[in-house]
């Protein structure tokens, strides 16, 4: 992140409401820089399109040297863990931090949203002690395909060591097949639990996947033809003689079949709509997204285009609750924090992991195999509210984490004074959230300060600015996207 808001007193112009909707749904949240980018692109939709082909990412380049552990191979991460040099759980902390920083600062915001989407669908938990040597590599793989084609993504994900270890496929052999991945591939990753398969299909699915192993000592993935089940495979409409000891070609054909299955298209379309439109997406929206997905041979971009073009998208303003991660990322972006290279656990880039975790969510940190829930109810607990609002206040005050980070001077949020309180609130709202807050929020800020909206304000103390910022972050304007 660079640049941002200009001199105090200058009132920024808000984006149009449709443009705002695009950035609330497809970015980590408002920044002045993003608003300028949307303007340059010619509006929200044009900005969205321009994001579908990613380019240079100076932020990512800068982060590379911050977390050296993330550039190591799975084998190197394993070796260092076993030798007691760096625990794999520490590498997972780094992955979580780096992921948050990418969502906060990458110029390729749509890609970050899609990485999160696919990571939930093809979930491998952050702290899975079987899979974690391979988790960083798995993330790199997802990123390569995040804006590409699902069939390629599915093939790489299913045969990846991280997924194989997470769902036990590496222990599955022709003699003792383990059904964990064979089942979840159908239930979670593709056609869904009502996709039309039965227990025989699960068994066949598991046999098809045998052969992908990981060496216990070196953590090197390999294919073991002696573990692979040879013989005819039939799963739903997929039939294959599977007569070769090397079953990789047949497995790829099977995964291709599942990726292109209509039930898979429906399932992925539904998940896209729940994530980017609303919890109860209209049927014809899902249908048109699924159709675009299938027609394009499982390319994600036409599906996303169908989604934003449907009238239901434009009508879904603020239908979604920000998850704790969304909330945190948007707050950090809005507050315009300048995060520097971490040098200790207290540095912002490191300590933010505890702060965001305190809100109840960290990237990929979800133990069961189904990925984070995307519905509003899941993220609407009282504990979530208490911790979120506590963190809003701490961030607004710039109290912690306060090392290797620069918070804006509190007075720099304000317009030129004197001004009416209502105008002050609008001004801060525009700079923090990218929009003027609705009347109920303006009144809430006034109540917090114990002043009337029309009161003439000569000066505002730092403590009161903290109150304005925190109240705006506590508001429905921030908590819903």
């Amino acid at each position: 992140m660079s640049s941002i808001n200009s001199a105090p007193g200058l009132v920024p112009t808000p984006l149009g409401s449709r443009d705002q909707h695009f950035i609330r749904r497809f970015s980590g949240g408002y920044t002045a820089e993003l608003a300028a980018e949307v303007r340059r692109a010619g509006g929200g939709r044009a900005w969205f399109d321009s994001q579908l082909r990613t380019g240079r990412d100076p932020w990512e380049k800068k982060l590379r040297s911050w977390f050296p552990s993330l550039r190591r191979s799975p084998q190197e991460i394993a070796r260092r863990d076993r030798a007691g040099i760096q625990g794999a759980w520490e590498v997972m902390d780094d992955l979580s931090r780096w992921t948050l920083l990418m969502r906060i600062g990458s110029p390729w915001q749509v890609q970050e949203q899609l990485v999160a989407f696919w990571s939930d669908l093809l979930h491998v938990p952050l702290m899975n002690d079987k899979a974690w040597y391979h988790r960083v590599d798995y993330d790199r793989m997802i990123r390569r395909h995040a804006l590409g084609r699902f069939d390629l993504l599915l093939t790489e994900a299913t045969t990846h060591a991280a997924q194989g270890l997470h769902l036990d496929n590496v222990y599955s052999t022709k003699r003792e097949p383990n059904e964990n991945l064979g089942r979840e591939l159908l239930e979670l990753h593709t056609v869904g639990v009502d996709g039309g398969y039965d227990e025989r299909d699960v068994k066949q699915s598991s046999r098809m996947l045998t052969g992908y192993r990981v060496d216990d000592d070196t953590s090197v993935p390999y294919y073991d033809p002696s573990a692979h089940y040879v013989g005819r495979i039939k799963v739903m409409g997929f039939k294959h003689p599977n007569s070769s000891k090397d079953g990789r070609k047949a497995t790829e054909a099977y995964l291709h079949y599942l990726a292109h299955h209509p039930a898979t298209a429906r399932r992925i379309a539904t998940r896209l709509c729940v994530r980017f439109v609303r919890d109860d997406p209209p049927k014809d929206l899902v249908k048109s997204v699924a159709k675009a997905f299938r027609r394009s041979g499982t390319a994600i971009q036409p599906a996303l285009e169908a989604l934003v073009e449907h009238p239901a998208f434009a009508k879904s303003v603020r239908r979604k609750v920000r998850t704790p991660i969304d909330d945190y990322v948007a707050a950090v972006r809005g507050l315009d924090l300048r995060i520097g290279r971490p040098v200790s656990e207290e540095s912002f880039a490191n300590a933010m992991n505890w702060q965001c975790g305190e809100m109840g969510q960290l990237p990929y940190d979800w133990p069961p195999p189904d990925g984070f829930p995307a519905d509003n109810l899941a993220w609407s607990s009282t504990g979530r509210v208490l911790t979120s609002f506590d963190v809003h206040r701490t961030l607004a005050g710039g109290w912690w984490p306060d090392k290797q980070v620069r918070y804006r001077g509190l007075q720099s949020w304000l317009p030129e004074l004197p001004a009416r309180l209502g105008a002050v609130i609008d001004h801060v709202g525009l700079r923090l959230l990218g929009e003027e807050p609705p009347q109920s929020v303006r009144e809430a800020v006034a109540a917090m300060l114990g002043k009337g909206l029309t009161a003439k304000v000569e000066e505002i103390g730092d403590w009161e600015v903290v109150g304005i910022l925190a109240t705006l972050l506590d508001s429905p304007t921030h908590m819903k996207r």
């Binding site: 625990g87 504990g383 809430a444 109540a447």
Partner: protein, 419 residues
């Protein structure tokens, strides 16, 4: 001892560190409010009546070594000694127990309760099938609904049985995140400590932040609107506790100190809370578990015992209402590994303390150490049988809800609770 330098992959390190930092931050901010504001009381008018029974579930995360906590005395002791030349506890050092088992000597602070019959154990409990992954096993234990991937916990299903379920019915103390056991459609609260149940003051102070929140959230539709209003209600209801100076001096220093002191204060305030969940992690002793005289296991078990003893002393006035059970996701391998530790195992022991406990003995079918499950203590009984016995005896109002709390499960009698 710095456990982090050891080769142990435990997320609970992270949790304890997180808690430490959060505590430091809370201390640094320190603006509080004393007033009770607004009409939020009304939103919490329902909920369980005061004076009811309470279940405290203490999760020993990381896989506590039940074979070192509740140790066989008979011929199985010889097998254990042979499998664990470095780690086993000599027969003559065992305390309490019964004819067949003795307790780890570090549990001595709880011996008065054992003798009084308010502290007992069940051995060889576990999941219906072994799961040696921490994360999966924890999920499975807490969802307690094999075959379902719905992320709804058994305690949430239990409190949800009440038509008047209210958020203060169930609380996680010591963490802002609800454990899997409390996730689900019934509301539950979570906080590091009771003082978190407030919205730190802003602006004018004197309740201005609460008034401000009401202004912008009272008419906000949807799930998050409801959650904010519930949170406002909870902070109002718990405000006297949030502001109270909760004494911790009677508790030993360590990770359970504030958590148990807060739990005791909450239960003594008698707000209708039925369920409290607490975590006590760092049991994943793959290496360097120490000896019977000192080290990780002995210190950890000692802290557990001294803390629980202090807790039951603290709540003496309401002891007839409070039952505490311990759960751990799995036990440890019978054979020790090369590093004075043990790897992930299967069946485990469980403790029950307090009201209604048929204590002073070790219950359960004991499969012995002759026939193992892939090197681990085999299953004697499903852990849900023990939990159901607690629910059935302590919460008669839920006893018709067995199929909801533990779907598809038929418990067997254990005898760990007095009927």
């Amino acid at each position: 001892m710095n456990h982090e330098t050891q080769n142990c992959h435990c997320p609970e390190f992270a949790l304890s560190r997180r808690r430490l930092l959060a505590g430091a931050v809370a201390g640094a901010l320190g603006v509080t409010v004393a007033d009770v504001i607004g009409d939020a009381h009304r939103q919490l008018a329902f909920g369980a009546p005061p004076g009811g029974n309470v279940l405290v579930v203490l999760s020993l995360r990381g896989g506590a070594d039940g074979l070192s906590l509740v140790v066989p005395r008979g011929p199985d002791h010889d097998l254990l000694a042979a499998a664990r030349p470095g780690l086993h506890i000599p027969r003559e050092r065992l305390v309490g127990g019964n004819a067949d088992f003795g307790l780890h000597p570090a549990l001595e602070p709880l011996l008065p309760m054992w003798t009084a019959g308010t502290f007992g154990a069940v051995h060889a409990v576990g999941l219906p099938a072994p799961n040696r992954s921490h994360f999966e096993a924890i999920e499975e234990v807490e969802r307690a609904a094999p075959g379902s991937i719905a992320r709804v916990g058994w305690l949430n299903r239990m409190i949800g049985l009440s038509p008047n379920a209210a958020p203060q019915d169930a609380l996680q103390v010591g963490s802002a995140m609800l454990p899997a056991a409390l996730l689900g459609s019934a509301s539950a609260l979570a906080a590091y400590q009771l003082s978190d149940f407030e919205f730190g003051e802003l602006g004018r102070g004197d309740g201005a932040r609460m008034r401000s929140l009401h202004r912008m959230w009272d008419h906000e539709s949807g799930e998050i609107g409801r959650a904010v209003r519930l949170a406002m209600g909870a902070t109002t209801l718990l405000r006297p506790l949030a502001d109270a100076d909760i004494p911790t001096d009677a508790y030993p220093d360590g990770p359970l100190q504030e958590v148990l002191a807060n739990t005791a204060a909450l239960l003594k305030a008698d707000l209708g809370t039925r369920v409290v969940t607490i975590d006590y992690g760092d049991w994943d002793m793959h290496s360097g578990a120490g000896t019977v005289d000192s080290g990780w296991m002995t210190e950890h078990a000692g802290h557990l015992a001294a803390s629980l003893s202090a807790f039951f002393t603290d709540i003496a006035a309401i002891a007839s209402r409070v039952t505490l059970v311990t759960l751990s996701e799995f036990g440890r391998r019978v054979e020790e590994n090369g590093d004075y530790g043990t790897d992930h195992g299967y069946a485990n022991s469980m403790f029950l303390l307090g009201a209604g406990v048929n204590g002073g003995t070790v219950h359960g079918r004991w499969p012995g150490l002759t026939t193992l499950n892939e090197g681990d203590l085999a299953l004697g009984q499903d852990y849900r049988s023990v939990l159901w016995e607690v629910i059935a005896t302590r919460f008669p109002e839920f006893s018709g809800g067995r199929a909801t709390v533990f779907p598809g499960f038929v418990p067997e009698p254990i005898g760990a609770m007095r009927a």
